[in-house]
């Protein structure tokens, strides 16, 4: 068990990459994704160079952060995960107590110099903490341990749902659930839970806020309110549908440029992309996303201990879920939830957190020890 030639100066590209803890395939795919994002944003924002520049700077910071995170040995994450998780829960509690209210929901903590959404931390902290929890347990886990892990999901999810931000709460819960799934939750239990969830759906419905119910109803029948909540979905479907096979061409998407499409540079940016690049562009983008997810799962499969496997696997799946939920929402497959399109939507926090999670993946992949065979 000797570490790779870390102490020696790298002489080849692959040595250099490992030295700097970079996974080239992941990095290239992420950079491609970010570049596509900047082009789409330029079009979606009505050719605003300021906005694109802002996003480019954030993306650069995110990539830099990712590379810095990659330098940290994965053990540190395992050790740090419970602390990060505890901090996250504390901050979420703080938000409930003193948080800023924006758009009718308390999601932000204002530190004076920056505003910050603690729920974003939880997207990382929840799966990491659960992975850390299962690290030294024998797998598949006993029901008792699954219950503990489930509680670790439920507490932050409940706190976030209370803000109220049902979408993020579900995403955080999903991220944690992936870790439990990879830990080996028995299929029988999964089946039972699925049935329970189906049974609980009505209960959830009645505990939803009115605007959340409205979103679901609007999703089910967008035509019911074409100028109000359904307007988003109707317009984004028009944008996507009018794109056709080949799209209207970059900067030629009339829906977004003429302001018919709301939030065209944030949550609904996919509609602009689909309108301008058509079905072929959409398939190419999905392929790029799938490649990133597949690379993540490959890293997980190659990883060397339980924590790394569970962490890498659940982070990769979480990334996929963002993609799926966002596109599904914009294409009118599911209710409107405030989930950005990863690496493309305009916005800072979520991108930095996402890239940090890829930093963890790189760290896991590049810190592998040579095992004696």
């Amino acid at each position: 068990m000797t570490t790779q030639t870390a102490a020696n100066a790298p002489s080849t590209l692959s040595e250099w990459l490992v030295y700097w803890r970079i996974d080239l395939q992941l990095l290239v795919a992420l950079l491609c994704c970010g570049a596509v994002g900047l082009f789409v944003l330029y079009s979606a924002s009505g050719q605003s160079t300021t906005l694109v520049l802002n996003q480019a700077i954030r993306f650069g910071i995110g990539i830099l952060g990712m590379l810095m995170v990659a330098q940290i040995p994965p053990e540190w994450f395992r050790v740090g995960a419970p602390w990060l998780f505890t901090l996250g829960v504390a901050l979420l509690t703080l938000v409930i107590l003193v948080g800023d209210t924006a758009m009718g929901a308390q999601r932000w903590l204002d530190f004076g110099f920056m505003r910050f959404q603690p729920s974003e931390i939880m997207k990382l902290a929840a799966p990491l903490a659960i992975a850390a929890y299962f690290h030294d347990k024998s797998l598949p886990p006993t029901l008792g341990r699954v219950a503990v892990a489930a509680a670790m999901i439920a507490v932050p999810a409940a706190l976030i749902a209370d803000q109220p931000d049902l979408g993020t709460a579900l995403l955080v819960a999903t991220a944690g659930a992936f870790a439990i799934y990879f830990a080996g939750l028995r299929w029988r239990v999964i089946l039972v839970l699925a049935l329970l969830a189906a049974a609980a759906a009505p209960l959830l419905w009645f505990n939803m806020h009115e605007y959340q119910q409205a979103r679901v109803l609007t999703f089910l029948n967008p035509a019911s309110d074409p100028t109000g909540a359904g307007y988003h979905i109707s317009q984004s479907k028009i944008a996507i549908g009018s794109g056709g096979l080949f799209g209207k061409g970059w900067l030629n998407g009339s829906q977004a440029h003429l302001n018919f499409l709301p939030e065209s540079d944030t949550d609904f940016v996919f509609a602009v992309f689909a309108e301008e690049t058509g079905l072929f562009g959409v398939i190419a983008l999905l392929a790029l996303y799938c490649f990133i997810v597949a690379r993540g799962l490959y890293i997980a499969a190659k990883s060397q201990d339980t924590f790394q496997r569970l962490a890498a696997g659940s982070l990769s799946l979480t990334f996929f879920i963002y993609v799926f939920v966002n596109i599904g929402m914009v294409a009118g497959l599911m209710p409107v939830v405030g989930v950005p399109l990863p690496l493309i939507s305009y916005g800072g926090t979520s991108m930095v957190i996402l890239l940090a999670s890829f930093g963890i993946l790189m760290s896991i992949h590049t810190h592998r020890k040579l095992l004696a065979t």
Binding site: T142, I238, Q255, F324, A331
Partner: protein, 627 residues
């Protein structure tokens, strides 16, 4: 458990993970396939539909309303004008808090409760993202005030348009009419496509009659818009065709003079060119301010107008039915001459009354003492009732009706203005139809002096006078002289419609009657000599009429008019034309409850003719083309 954990089977865990990854990978594959299928459904299968929706979103057809044609008088004086008007519009969808915005707006531009009410009514009927007017006719000052503050009012905009204005106001209100808001009822009888985007439609007078000429044809432009409905780029443009500019036969100065001449009386003046039938002036009093109707009259003001006992909205010149009184005697005299009922020179004894055989009832002359022996000419200028009673007995109602009808009495003149009354020229048939009663001889006596059942509008009396002036030839009364299309400068004359000529057996009979009418004004014993015939430097022929509103009991002396409550007083009428040799103007004046025809209506007719003469000192041949 601890013991259990101690023996972690790393190889088994790795296998477990690989299986889990394969399973989840399959699920992911299905999910990605779902997304692709969904997007493909939208982009391929429903592409045509969404493509159309996208185009609809992008292109908006805006209707450009045409500019309404102007109305001029015969000399090019504007009677109906377009004025630029600014209105304040709100796109409600672009305003966050409507009530707060209206409150703040009120500090800049006055917004009354009525404005808010109207705004809310209209808002509920307007599609989303369309502007709804909150204030009409902003003053320049208000426009400026808003422009300074416009940054504070997103979604609120000033729109420029045109509104209608009537420079002559009350003076020509009934003649020119007015435009008003388009109602569903209006749209029932016009081509709706011409009115998309228009705010106004002719409601009364010439504005109503010539609506289809004045209105023009809307244009359209296809614009690319954003979701706010704001036009970004023009893709296509079809210019509207403005309405035609109309030239009326009316003389604005004469109209004003006639309006002044009527004074504070209720009544009407119609002046026309007897040669052409062109109406020179048409006044009805009391009048109203037509501008009030243009942008919607308030309920209070409208009720005020409709509840006024003097009925200002009612066009007395065409709708007012008055017993014509003695003004029809010249026509009755012609009937007598033409039917050989009486020679012009035959003298008839006129005591103060006659009785019909077998009846005690006395048919009185307006002059209790009678006129003595009078021939036809004298009977006309002294207005002997008994002479005409005796004539009527010889003629019978059938002849009276025949000759009255020849001069247009009892049927509408067909003037090119709306809502004309036909009046009544009674006959046996008429009475059977209207009253289901036979004709009684006494009624013939009432008819010959323009009383009883008989009624006529001032316009009909003007037409009758014109026909006498022109000795039986004439054209249908009209106000439209011609028009100019906005595109070319060629003046198009309105087609003249000749009336069926009145061919007398003996054309000299015209002269007898006209001489009698000249003497009304110029003979020392003419009824109007004192009131009309003073200081004349041109020749004028006229006939007075004083028609009873309330019947007097037998043997009752005509009371002094000052003692009679105004509404029971006689109507005063006067018809005239001048100059006699080559008539250029025919006038009919009715003063409701004015008293004596010669004393009250006569001077008004004289002033109208004087005003006409002041403008046309040469009294030369008429021109009907504008300068």
């Amino acid at each position: 458990m601890a013991a259990d954990d101690a023996i972690k089977d790393h190889a088994a865990e790795r296998r477990l993970f690989v299986v889990r990854t394969l399973v989840v990978g399959t699920v992911l594959g299905v999910m990605v396939a779902t997304l692709v299928a969904r997007v493909a459904y939208l982009q391929v299968y429903r592409h045509a539909y969404y493509e159309t929706r996208s185009q609809d979103n992008r292109m908006r057809v805006q209707v450009i309303p045409p500019v309404r044609g102007l109305i001029y008088d015969r000399n090019g004086v504007v009677l109906a004008d377009n004025l630029p008007a600014y209105r304040l519009e709100i796109v409600a969808e672009q305003v966050e808090d409507l009530d707060a915005t209206l409150d703040r707006l009120d500090e800049v531009v006055e917004i009354r409760e009525a404005d808010r009410q109207r705004f809310r009514d209209r808002l509920s009927k307007t599609p989303h993202f369309r502007g709804v007017p909150i204030r009409l006719n902003l003053s320049q000052r208000e426009v400026a005030r808003f422009e300074v503050n416009r940054g504070a009012f997103p979604g609120v905009e000033i729109r420029a348009g045109l509104t209608r204005h009537y420079p002559l106001g009350r003076v020509a209100a009934h003649l020119v009419g007015y435009v008003g808001g388009i109602t569903a009822q209006d749209l029932g009888h016009v081509d709706n496509t011409r009115y998309r985007g228009s705010n106004h439609i002719g409601k009364a007078g010439a504005e109503y009659s010539f609506e289809s000429r004045l209105h023009g044809y809307p244009g359209s432009r296809v614009v690319e818009t954003n979701a706010g409905g704001r036009a970004l780029r023009e893709l296509e443009m079809n210019r509207p065709t403005a309405g035609e500019n109309l030239y009326l036969t009316v003389d604005a100065r004469l109209q004003s003079a006639a309006y002044e001449a009527l004074g504070d009386n209720d009544g009407a003046v119609v002046a026309m060119n007897p040669e052409t039938g062109g109406v020179l002036a048409m006044v009805s009093k009391p009048s109203y301010e037509p501008d009030l109707f243009v942008d919607g009259i308030s309920g209070d003001k409208y009720r005020q107008l409709t509840a006024d006992p003097h009925m200002p909205l009612y066009n007395r010149a065409m709708q007012g039915r008055y017993p014509p009184g003695s003004t029809i005697k010249p026509v009755m005299a012609l009937a007598g001459l033409e039917t050989d009922a009486i020679p012009a020179t035959k003298k008839v004894w006129c005591p103060g009354y006659i009785t019909l055989p077998g009846s005690e009832r006395r048919y009185r002359d307006w002059k209790r003492t009678g006129h003595g022996w009078v021939d036809m000419r004298e009977a006309i200028y002294r207005s002997s009732d008994v002479y005409f009673y005796k004539l009527a007995l010889k003629l019978g109602i059938d002849n009276l009706h025949r000759y009255g009808a020849m001069f247009g009495l009892g049927s509408p003149t067909g003037i090119d203005l709306p809502r004309e009354s036909s009046g009544i020229m009674p006959s046996r048939d008429w009475k059977r139809g209207a009253r289901d009663l036979p004709w009684y001889p006494g009624e013939t006596l009432n008819t010959v002096i323009g009383q009883g059942f008989m009624t006529a509008t001032p316009l009909q009396l003007a037409q009758m006078t014109s026909l006498i002036a022109e000795r039986g030839a004439g054209y249908q009364p009209h106000v439209l002289n011609g028009w100019k299309a906005p595109s070319d400068e060629n003046f198009q004359s309105a087609p003249a419609r000749p009336l069926a000529p009145i061919d007398l057996e003996d054309r000299d009979h015209w002269q007898v009657v006209i001489d009698g009418m000249v003497d009304v004004v110029s003979a020392p014993r003419g009824t109007a000599h004192h009131y009309v015939g003073q200081n004349l430097d041109y020749s004028i022929a006229g006939k007075s009429g004083t028609s009873q509103v309330a019947g007097l009991a037998q043997n009752q002396a005509a009371p002094d008019i000052e003692d009679v409550e105004r509404r029971f007083r006689d109507h005063a009428l006067f018809v005239a034309f001048a100059p006699v040799e080559s008539p250029e103007i025919a006038v009919a004046v009715v003063v409701e409850h004015g008293g004596g025809g010669s004393s009250v209506a006569g001077p008004i007719a004289r002033r109208v003719i004087d005003a006409y003469r002041a403008d046309q000192p040469m009294l030369q041949a008429n021109r009907e083309t504008p300068q």
